[in-house]
Amino acid sequence: MTPLVVSIAGAVASVVLLLVVFELIRSRRLRERYALLWIATGLVLLGLSAWRGGLNTIAGWVGVTGYPPAVLFAVGSLFILAVLLHYSTVISKLADQNVILAQRLALLEAEVGDGSLDARAPR
């Protein structure tokens, strides 16, 4: 059985995560679409911390016999992986859009006849 202290600590950490995410959305520093995975992470970890019998059952399913809170750790890790992977796709999309913008700018500048042809400082 999961020690009670571990369950409480897990629940508190999950609630803190959820509150931070909420505050970031409220202050417009985090868009809702990127917050969804974080909220799911917080809710699932909170659920597994609070529902102690459930954590034990799941630990039994996946063959974790010694220490059920290890499942909490594993689930948390998986969610972090999901968030990171999601960010990689977001970065890829931004990079693609960046290329298109740069190309459009070059084409437009040439059309408008704007922009000097002098050497530029490296960026």
């Binding site: 290329v99 740069a102 700018l105 070059a106 084409l107 040439a110 002098d118 050497a119 530029r120």
Partner: protein
Amino acid sequence: MPEVAHAVRVSVDARLAALKRVAILPALNEEGNVGPVIEELRRLDPDLEVVVVDDGSTDGTASVAAQAGAHVLRLPFNLGIGGCVQTGFRYAYEHGFELAVRLDGDGQHDPAELPKILEPVLAGQADIVVGSRFAGTAGYRSSRSRRLGIRLLAWVVSALVRQRVTDTTSGFQAVNRRGIALFAHDYPHDYPEVEATVMVVKHRLRLREVPVTMRERASGRSSITAARSVYYMVKVLLAIFVGIFRRTATPLEDT
């Protein structure tokens, strides 16, 4: 080839003269090389529009190119060769060009070899023609590791496209309107020639290789180092592998 006086207009193939045509030169810090290439191209074919895509050069590449009579597209920052070349194809597509040739701005592609590359396109036998350093007897000197890499890629690509391809990294190419349309809409990022070869065949465009001789760089250094070659190799193999599972789309026709 007989030496022709500069003032004499070289007669251009009638099939070529009928087409709106453009040369695309990607260039990154090539102020020492790009000028002569442009002049040579204009001497060979005065009606050929030369477009230099400046991939964020910090030297005088853009002004040298403009002075030599090229149309210069300046990218605001370095995109890498794929994004750079695609800018040229977008320009060609949007301005209704029917034929595009691509040469490197560093002068290693000899404009005098252009007729060889153009012939299959003009004859309607191919949509894209690639000048290969290895297809014929033409000599090409390169480091051993780099040659090995090129061989390996050639082998992989040949197996995938079920057609013998000897030089998958050659940027010396000619494409017709169909090829321009395809590349304007979809062009691979880095080391694009390898991926583009597979892409072209998957889109059922006809690919042809012709042997060409390439020159040594006139000045400056190639941007490809040994460590980078390995990195590119891994990345390009991944891209090719994933590309096999990508749904093909026929290039958009003109609207």
